[in-house]
Amino acid sequence: MKPFNIILSGVGGQGLITLVTILDQACLNEGYDVRSSELHGLSQRGGSVQAHVRFGKKVYSPLISNKKTDIIIGLETSEALKSIMYANEKTKILVNDNSVPYLGGLPKKELLETLKKTAKNNLYLVSASKICEEKLQKEVVSGMYILGYACYKKLIPLTIESLLKATEQVIPTKYLESNKKAVELAKL
């Protein structure tokens, strides 16, 4: 199997690094070779955060090259749009219908329109933040909802069982229940 390539993008504070850790663990659980690359530091202060996750029989570079991205997972609309430079014609674009506004940023409506125009049929826009806020009163687990969605819809070739097991391995007991619930909510 050629490496499967995922880009996760969001802003600092959305828990993106935790999602990377869970994804990596899920890949290991399924016996894949996996490498990922993430940026910490200055980006944590509300700036853009992006991570690459690659898994398959054998992976060399931790970075995706030449637009060979299978899926872009955007935790926020403007960051999802910025990652489109990594997309090819077939790249799936899974986006949380959520916007973290910033000084000088574009209005959400405009971002969504552009996203629809560029991603076309490859766009999966899900209301993860809204659903998690309503059902769990915890917007912060919306990233887990997105990962659950990707697995249920087979946008990522990982089973929901591996994802849930990885969640148990990575997330501290105190927060485990809400994270697992967020994954399961995506089944509906």
């Binding site: 290991l28 700036g47 570079s61 910025k82 910033y102």
Partner: protein, 549 residues
């Protein structure tokens, strides 16, 4: 056992497998997780661990531990090695007693570094200290272990140099057992001034001893498995020599371009195994030296080739950039030039014009950050034309919108010295802004100099009660050590007063009126004056509240 580890975590694991006793460092990105991880597990593993006030002191602490028979590890980001270099060079001369590994994490592309895009490998030439260059988490673990072995065998410190893409790479790592007692090991300092004092004329003798050591280590590295040759069966005319993360990009490029060229992957940057390189390049027509940032290896190889293969065409920095990190595409394009094989970058599928119009998301002060009560107030009160000295830490955000109040930014603590120079040179109004962590790290000598040499500017210490920017590490102003033990809380106000500053005031910037009036008042004073704007970091406050609930 196999485990997913971050490069930095793999370094910690390798060090624990090697039986490290003493860990010191200063937090920075991309190395901070090393020290943090050690502080977390120190007690249960019987390891002493600390955040030191700066990298120089961190190294000196480890030197003391090494002389006392404890295995030590020092961790820092790229610029840390500049700070500690004063003690690093004599350490190469004295050598270590118990083994020591120094981890330096560079940041090509400056993802989270102001200051410069430095290639710290160059310190190998200045200090004559062996440098190992891992490419991934597995090598982070393996090379750390190897570093301790080399250090033990030759009584010399060993530098493990990573980069952001190595330190912050996660991958599957085969790890070994950690067998150590939970008791802190007690060392014993045995006097040996002949070895530990670098007084002349002994110092020149020491230099000779050091160079002899390096010769022996080079011989050892000739045989080392971490300098490995691959794909010898393939094309024999064109080869690649690489080190660190570019090795992974080279492998990926071969997949991408269906190539199979011989590769010499150097795990030891210094000293380089000359014979191994000679043998590898002997029969080649063309060679790509794939290294990130500076072309150090390329220069070495050009020298070696002059003797064994003068006709060899060497490609390096003429086909790969010296600025910014490498990636697979850049290597592919370079290989296309060497091999004549076609490689095309994927065309843009989306209108870039549109994407380019998405405004940049600047890092910003967090919601509730006390600095929101500091920067706008200073800006409002400062008379037109006031010069703003900036320093490293969260207060770097003063230079970004919406504040835009930073007229120079260099390195830890530099603003006091520069502000002093500007003040002396011009007599213009200056306000220098520095955080609490940076003040303890490198601010104090600059402050003393300014007072002593009769400067005239205002200093605002933005004291948010922690070293926040690098992820909340303890500092001397908190009353807590890195391991969480209670200790004396060092008062910035007392330090400033004892440095001879006449006008010093500590206040809470949430009290706007008091803050405004103090700035106004202090701006009229002659000499150096200091306002300590003290208010806890909002993230820390939230964390403390949720922990107490």
């Amino acid at each position: 056992m196999k485990k997913i580890l971050l490069g930095n975590e793999a370094i910690v694991h390798g060090a624990l497998e090697s039986g490290v006793d003493f860990v010191s460092g200063y937090p920075g990105c991309p190395s901070a997780e090393i020290g943090e991880e050690f502080l977390k597990i120190a007690k249960e593993n019987g390891v002493y661990s600390e955040w030191s006030t700066n990298e120089k002191v961190a190294l000196e602490a480890a030197i003391g531990a090494s002389f006392s028979g404890l295995k030590s590890l020092v961790n820092m980001k790229s610029f840390g090695i500049n700070v500690c270099s004063d003690s690093l060079f004599p350490l190469a001369y004295t050598g270590t007693k118990a083994p020591m590994v120094i981890v330096v994490a560079d940041d090509p592309s400056c993802w989270s570094s102001a200051q410069s895009e430095q290639d710290s490998r160059g310190y190998a030439y200045l200090s004559h200290i062996p440098v190992l260059e891992p490419a991934d988490p597995q090598e982070c673990r393996d090379f750390t272990k190897l570093g301790f072995e080399i250090s033990e065998k030759f009584n010399i410190p060993v530098i493990v140099r990573t980069t952001t893409r190595v330190s912050h790479q996660r991958a599957v790592v085969e790890i070994g057992q950690i067998t150590r007692s939970r008791q802190l090991k007690k060392g014993n300092f045995v006097k040996n001034p002949h070895q530990y004092c670098t007084m002349p004329p002994r110092v020149l003798e020491m230099k000779k001893e050091l160079l002899e050591k390096i010769n022996k280590i080079e011989k050892e590295f000739e045989k080392s498995k971490i300098n490995k040759i691959e794909n010898l069966a393939g094309n024999k005319k064109i080869g690649v020599i690489t080190s660190g993360i570019p090795y992974l990009y080279v492998k990926e490029s071969f997949e991408e371009m269906s190539l199979s060229l011989p590769v010499l992957k150097l795990g030891t940057f210094y000293p380089v195994p000359k014979q191994k390189i000679e043998n590898f390049i002997k029969g080649l027509k063309k060679l790509l030296v794939a290294e990130e940032l500076d072309g150090y290896l390329e220069k070495e190889i050009i020298q070696i080739a002059k003797e064994v293969n003068p006709k060899l065409e060497i490609f390096g920095k003429n086909v790969l950039p010296e600025v910014g990190e490498l990636n697979t595409e850049k290597i592919c394009l370079a290989l296309a030039r060497l091999t004549g094989k076609k490689f095309a970058l994927s065309s843009d599928r989306v209108p870039y014009r549109m994407i380019g119009q998405i405004p940049r998301r600047y890092p910003r002060l967090c919601d509730g950050c006390p600095y929101w009560n500091i920067f706008p107030v200073i800006k409002k009160i400062a008379p037109g034309g006031t010069i703003f000295g900036g320093d490293i830490g969260c207060n770097m955000m003063a230079g970004l919108p919406p504040h835009n109040m930073q007229d120079y930014l260099f390195c830890m603590g530099a603003s006091f010295g520069i502000s002093h120079g500007v003040s002396k040179a011009t007599g213009q109004k200056i306000i220098s802004i520095m955080g609490d962590g940076t003040f303890f790290h490198a601010g104090i000598p600059g402050l003393i100099n300014a007072v002593y040499n009769k400067s005239n500017f205002l200093i605002v210490i933005t004291d948010n009660r922690i070293t926040a920017m690098t992820g909340h590490q303890q500092n001397p102003g908190m009353g807590k050590t890195g391991m969480g033990e209670d200790t004396i809380e060092i008062s910035i106000e007392d330090v400033a007063k004892s440095c001879g500053v006449k006008y010093v005031k500590t206040l809470d910037p949430a009290n706007k009126e008091e803050f405004e009036n103090t700035i106004k008042d202090f701006l009229t004073k002659d000499g150096v004056s200091v306002i300590i704007a003290k208010h806890i970091c909002s993230l820390l406050e939230r964390r403390q509240k949720s922990a107490s609930n």
